[in-house]
Symmetry: C2
């Protein structure tokens, strides 16, 4: 792959745009960390890996793992790869988009789930997915109206975590809550004005689904009504709030600690 | 202020660039949240407030507070304001840059300080300042080689927290550590491979300075050597790491909780 003007290069580049992702049902993972995790945990979805000579030398384990998994690895000129993506550092994978809904969850085994209600910023969504992964959560759900999980910036800011745990999208909040409650989870909503203080509540010991609200408007009235309880992270300085990714990081981590201690 | 082509508008716009900030010793706060907090907590540094008619109607309390503080409030056309900054939502303040060094700290009263070692990404630095504020920290230090605290994106992503607590920059790590240790603080370094698990250590009860490393290279060997101990946040899923802003959010919050409980 040396011709930066080829149709194939243009096709990969186009996957930076939502319309092309929808039309082709494909998306990209950019950069060594994302591609490494895609090859390791989602090889069945990977169609092609593109890599420059320099990146092959720098991260040979990625190429080896891709070849071991039987994937197509295309040596690619630096110029062609930079045209595919400005954020790939010489290595990029194209993946099949796999539709996933709530039926993908193993309902009998859920202990911790993060639910993003119309979270729109890709950096926030990616960070929440990474936080959920680090906390050992079983899944992340992005409700209808949230940013697409296949947006390149979501994939990138998740640091590969999108390939580590099920990320379900395009579901309404009421359906998510009813399914997760049916699976025996308590539903807690993270809310700066929440009724319970996360430090003094015993709510965290139980299997939990956390709802995190939109970054601009916060939690919706619907979410407050659907939740079993609203929980706040106390603020000790002059800050008026945490951003949604910070709040999710703290609450998911608090749940993972409570679960580890109650085991 | 109606002429978007005026020299004054160009001068404000230029403050988006580092060179102009250094030359003029001024910087900007953009958007209602930042300007509100600047007017409220750093009025002595505010030279001018620019506001569109629409923003005045939407956030009258900002204009009122600025006038009460005796500040110059300039009604500004939408066109001129958009030329000053694309991220201001109709309200912007120009501030004097006040040099601050370690002598600005009230050494006898420090209980929690965040030290960023060459943190370069403005979003990370701003988020760490916001996390430190929310945890009730006494100060943030950005060592030499870190992003400038007056970069517009740092100010914006701190959500006004840069005006809530002292943020000191341009100091070498060894000097910071020696000053803070002299003030009676333990020095803990956040490190994915740290020797102590944050969940099982009793290190957090004492007054603490946390060191957070560069986003790409992590903590330096110098930082590890200077710290009294390295502390890790346990990872329970498949994630290999947290980003520095997430790690800082969790560790600062854990310290604030430990301090509240030990009081």
């Amino acid at each position: 792959m040396t011709n930066a003007r080829s149709e194939r290069v243009a096709g990969v580049r186009a996957l930076g745009q939502r319309a092309a992702r929808l039309r082709t049902s494909r998306y990209v993972a950019e950069g060594p960390q994302s591609v490494r995790e895609a090859v390791r945990y989602a090889a069945a979805d990977v169609r092609d890996v593109y890599v420059t000579q320099q990146a092959s030398s720098r991260w040979p384990e990625i190429v080896d793992a891709a070849l071991d998994a039987g994937l197509y690895v295309h040596p690619t000129s630096t110029e062609a790869l930079e045209r595919m993506s400005a954020d790939a550092q010489g290595v990029l994978a194209v993946l099949d988009l796999r539709a996933s809904d709530l039926s993908a969850l193993d309902l009998g085994r859920l202990r911790l789930v993060a639910v993003c209600e119309e979270v729109r910023d890709p950096g926030n969504a990616g960070t929440i997915i990474r936080a959920a992964d680090a906390a050992g959560a079983d899944a992340v759900v992005l409700t209808t109206g949230s940013v697409e999980v296949t947006s390149p910036k979501v994939v990138r800011s998740s640091a590969g975590s999108v390939f580590h745990l099920p990320v379900i999208s395009g579901v309404g909040l009421a359906d998510v809550v009813s399914t997760l409650r049916g699976a025996g989870l308590d539903v807690l909503a993270a809310d700066g004005q929440g009724e319970h203080d996360i430090e003094s509540t015993s709510l965290l010991d139980r299997p939990t689904a956390w709802i995190f609200g939109n970054e601009a408007h916060g939690l919706s009235d619907d979410a407050r009504a659907l939740a079993d309880a609203t929980v706040r992270v106390p603020l000790r300085g002059r800050a008026e709030s945490l951003n949604v990714a910070m709040a999710a990081t703290i609450t998911l981590y608090a749940s993972s600690l409570a679960h580890a201690r109650s085991r």
